[in-house]
Amino acid sequence: MSVLKADHISIQFGGLRAVNDFSLDLQEKELYSIIGPNGAGKTTVFNMLTGIYQPTEGSIYIDGKLMAGCKPYQFTAAGLARTFQNIRLFHGATVLDNVKMAHSFKTDYNFFNMLTRTGKYHSEERRITEKSMELLEMFDLQDKKDFFANNLPYGEQRKLEIVRALATEPKVILLDEPAAGMNPNEIDDVVNLILRVQKELGKAILVIEHHMKMVMKIAEYIKVLDFGETISEGTPEKVQNDPKVIEAYLGGHANASRS
């Protein structure tokens, strides 16, 4: 079943057509990747898919539901979560709170219960804390639960962003350069984590990444953007041998071995 579908979406910034006629159909538990040169429009695609930008043309469906005119929080409610290329954690809060914050909209007690601590307040709070801790453990962050988010090293901040996204219990998770700023060893960790998220938690995943080795290893299907256009798409084998992709993006890294 299609969990995320983009139907010929485009966006214009003033005179700049940042993304043109982009389509995507992501089924449950699938793992797609978007690659392309810097400034190709990848992040912009994410921004449209998560409701931060409204596409000037085309439509987006989450779980079959048309999302036209919806706000980002409604996208999340419909089952979509993301991380950011420029990390956007809640820096004034601890690691644990960051994760709990992402549970806010799925809490089963009302305003009055909250003010008076009646109803399901206590049980819900316990549930949220436990679930958050579970997720942190999965990413090996449990020991840092009381750190302020912005005091974590860069790599762990990226991990925390993933945890936080998962806490919204999405069907699809969009990762914008999850391995940026990591060394190859750490990237291997991230790869394993992403695969676990896909396999164990059963999420569909869409990744933007410049580390080709990683992309080729995990992606089932790749879309390549350049100047907002989809210049190539298909399986990793197909894409990395596509001369257009090599010319625009990979350079000497076709059949990427290193980066």
Partner: protein, 344 residues
């Protein structure tokens, strides 16, 4: 009972009341000190109210005295003009005082909603100016409304507030604010404060959370207004000027924005300080201004920034708990490894 067990921490505030009450009965605390404590109580409620908006949600309100004015005038209208509570038997007076206070709170909350809604898309200083403007508009309406005394001011409001009632409302406010902070609603607000875009993408309906916080805050400010009106018995539109709003901002930030304990402490200390400085005569406010600078230079996050009294049992926000055991120790055990700062 079950509820009391889970909320045992609220006992400490009534305890403080009992102590003050006994000291007052035994003439150790005179009416002057009680008066300052009462005013400090009103200021604590106001500062906590401001903390919900400025501290927790990261919105910039600099016109909060406007909500206080609405609460004060509506409650005074209720208890003095509509029902003249002064002539009632004491038991009934209390009932009408509470009703008046709630009316004041609701009145302020309505205004909170009215300005919260349209200003959602405003940020930072732009929002600040609108809240300031709103406060001034309120004053200018009161000023030409003869029913509430217009520019003459409203006199003869029945003296219904007392140390006891102020304590009750301070306690409720602290309790409510603590609960707010330690809940999905409060965390949603904190998320908005820290990063609105990310909050939105984490499924938080930012508009709803902001308006909720604004309205709750206005309601609380209205309650404070009622306490003020029924303590001072005299209202004048100029009392609720922009300068008054600034006072609360100072209490909030010097106390430690975002921290409930900080709001309490800031309001208390800075209400008392000018009184303590009375012996300085005309140098009083010079020293007060200077001390304010010194406080903020030595503790830029405010006296209690990033810390909370342990009895509040606050969990959210990565705070350091200050209990009675470690209050006097220089190095307290950290529950959070962190710099104590709340960066904005």
């Amino acid at each position: 009972m079950n509820w009391l067990r889970k909320n045992s921490e609220v006992i400490i505030l009534p305890l403080i009341y009992v102590v003050i009450f006994l000291l007052q009965k035994n003439k150790i605390l005179n009416n002057y000190i009680i008066q300052i404590i009462m005013l400090a109580g009103v200021n604590i409620i106001m500062t906590l109210s401001l903390n919900l908006v400025n501290g927790m949600t990261g919105q910039n309100s600099i016109g909060h005295a406007g909500f206080m004015a609405v609460g004060a005038y509506v409650s005074a209208l209720f208890s003095k003009i509509i029902f003249s509570a002064a002539t009632m038997p004491p038991a009934l007076q209390t009932v009408f005082f509470l009703l008046a206070t709630i009316a004041g709170g609701i009145g302020a909350a309505i205004f909170g909603f009215l300005i919260g809604m349209p200003t959602l898309r405003l940020k930072g200083d732009y929002l600040a100016i609108v809240t300031l403007g709103f406060g001034e508009v309120i004053r200018s309406i009161i000023r030409i409304t003869p029913t509430v005394g217009a520019a003459r001011g409203l006199t003869g409001i029945p003296k219904l507030a007392s140390l006891f009632w102020i304590f009750v409302f301070v306690t409720i406010t602290i309790y409510v604010c603590r609960n707010y902070m330690d809940s999905a609603y409060g965390r949603g607000c904190l998320a908005i404060r820290d990063n609105e875009v990310a909050a939105d993408t984490m499924g938080i309906n930012t508009s709803k959370y902001k308006v909720q916080a604004f309205v709750t805050s206005a309601f609380i400010a209205g309650i404070a207004g009622s306490m003020y009106a029924h303590t001072l018995r005299y209202l004048h539109p100029d009392v609720f000027s922009y300068t008054k709003s600034t006072d609360f901002l100072v209490y909030l930030y010097a106390g430690g924005v975002g921290s409930i304990s900080g709001s309490i402490l800031g309001a208390f200390v800075l209400t008392a300080l000018p009184e303590i400085l009375r012996f300085m005569n005309e140098w009083r406010l010079v020293i007060y201004g200077g001390l304010l600078v010194v406080i903020i230079l030595f503790r830029p996050v405010g006296m209690f920034g990033g810390k909370e009294f342990a009895f509040l049992k606050l969990k959210t926000g990565g705070i350091r708990h200050i209990g009675f055991s470690n209050l006097f120790q220089r190095k307290s055990k950290k529950t959070a490894v962190a710099n104590e700062e709340i960066s904005q």
